[in-house]
């Protein structure tokens, strides 16, 4: 199959992109890495009037760290996230997860912002951003606004982005020194979307915990019951027992609801046990 015929325009700056969208109207789409959009167009799942190529907006690419936070530009490619020394040192959760995003050739073009903006419920980066409490920086006709991850992911392919708004970057506070993290997913094959996945952040002395599952619901979801249990000092078995309490779990082609619940609980048990062992060894 081939795409429909569309107009193709390039933006060099963020204001440029917003202006081009305003001119083209709601049937326009921003083209970032194209690793999800082009696949959808090739199958005519979407037939835009105009593609606004934002890949040349240099200001949106790159990772910068200051004393408190790390900012990942929306157009930073998955491969650049994987190779980033800042990410490896400061946000090891993302470093561990990025190798599970698709395959090398797709990581060479797919972008961090595209993945977050698309909000595939099975995607790793949205789950990491939620577990790390990231804040989305969004540019629109009326200026820039900020939306925390907890209020950003609204459903399958659904986010707080209004039509025409551009995600420009994600800012993540540096985790407190001594924070522990975990990442695990079950996939049929390296690079496939997960059947169930987990991102875990635990603050020193269990002062705080964020447990996020992906690919078990319509969006990356926080496991509030498990978080409370971790903070209360519950055992690994006790936390795993409440892994998906209060979460609306969806089945898909890979696994039904009961299996997804089981996978989620197993992933959490394994990662918590691994962290306990690590702590005991230290």
């Amino acid at each position: 199959m081939k795409t429909n015929a569309f107009a193709y325009v390039r933006a060099d700056t963020v204001p440029d992109a917003l202006r081009l969208y305003a001119e083209a109207g709601e049937d326009a789409r921003y083209l970032a890495g194209g690793q999800s959009l082009m696949a959808a167009l090739n199958f005519r799942l979407d037939e835009p009037s105009t593609l606004i190529d934002i890949t040349r907006v240099a200001a949106l690419r790159g990772i910068v760290a200051d004393a408190d936070a790390i900012r990942i530009g929306a157009l930073t490619r998955h491969a650049d996230v994987a190779d980033s020394a800042v990410i490896t040192a400061e946000l090891p959760l993302i470093h561990a997860a990025i190798g599970h995003v698709a395959h090398p050739a797709i990581r060479n073009r797919g972008t961090f912002g595209g993945s977050v903006a698309l909000a595939d419920p099975a995607a790793e980066m949205p789950a990491c951003v939620l577990a790390l409490g990231g804040v989305m920086e969004i540019a629109g006709q009326d200026g820039t606004r900020h939306v925390p991850a907890d209020a950003f992911f609204l459903g399958t392919y659904e986010t707080a982005l209004a039509p025409g708004e551009l995600l420009t970057g994600v800012t993540i506070q540096r985790p407190a020194p001594g924070s522990r993290w975990g990442f695990a997913e079950l996939a049929r094959r390296a690079g496939d979307y997960a059947m169930a996945g987990l991102c875990l952040m635990i603050a020193p002395d269990r002062r705080d915990a964020r447990v996020v599952f992906f690919s078990i619901s319509d969006r990356p979801v926080r496991a509030r019951a498990a978080e409370a249990a971790i903070i209360a000092g519950a055992s690994v078995i006790e936390v795993a027992a409440v892994a998906t309490d209060g979460i609306e779990v969806y089945g898909d082609l890979n696994a039904g609801i009961a299996t997804k619940r089981h996978y989620a609980s197993v992933l959490l048990r394994r990662e918590l046990a691994r962290l306990d062992q690590q702590e005991a060894a230290a």
Binding site: Y8, Q35, N42, D53, H103, P104, A105, N108, A190
Partner: protein
């Protein structure tokens, strides 16, 4: 705004300028406009890897990139890499190990493998399998492909030492 665009790129070492429909994918441009039929179209949605080519030195999916986006880029296909001899050792190893049967996957597989071999460290079999996980081969069962890549990786590392 029109539905066509004029692009200039460096294709297999030569400057090329072409006017083409904006919606044309890079792999269709290479195959249909430029007659470079090494890269194949298996799935058109990024899953099979048969369309893999190099853009600015990095392996990418030719089906998930517009030709329009290659404006100003350096594009190398299996034809170009064959002509320069850059992957002759890899092609020879694929041949000797019987890692090519119908050949549909081979151009993409070779470009993906070359990408791994360009990194400094010696990959083990698990890393090789992980790296080629996005390239389907429906004939060989992969074993021979991993053998071939592994052999070249070892030989190149020795050569460099």
């Amino acid at each position: 705004m029109t539905g066509t665009i004029t692009i200039s790129l460096h294709l297999n070492g030569e400057a090329v300028t072409a006017t083409l429909p904006a919606r044309m994918s890079l792999v269709d441009f290479l195959r249909e406009t430029m007659g470079l039929t090494g890269a194949h179209v298996g799935c058109a949605h990024g899953v099979c890897g048969a369309c893999t080519v190099r853009v600015d030195g990095a392996a990418v999916r030719g089906c998930l990139m517009l030709a329009a986006q290659a404006d100003g880029a350096t594009v190398d296909t299996i034809e170009g890499l064959t002509d320069t001899g850059a992957i002759a050792d890899l092609q020879d190893a694929f041949h000797r190990h019987n890692a090519v049967q119908c050949g549909y996957c081979s151009p993409g597989m070779l470009i993906t493998a070359a990408d791994l071999l360009d990194r400094a460290t010696l990959p083990d079999r698990a890393e090789i399998r992980d790296h080629i996980s996005g390239n389907y081969c429906r004939c060989t069962g992969y074993q021979a492909i991993v053998d071939a890549i592994s052999e070249v990786a070892t030989a190149r590392t020795k050569g460099a030492a």
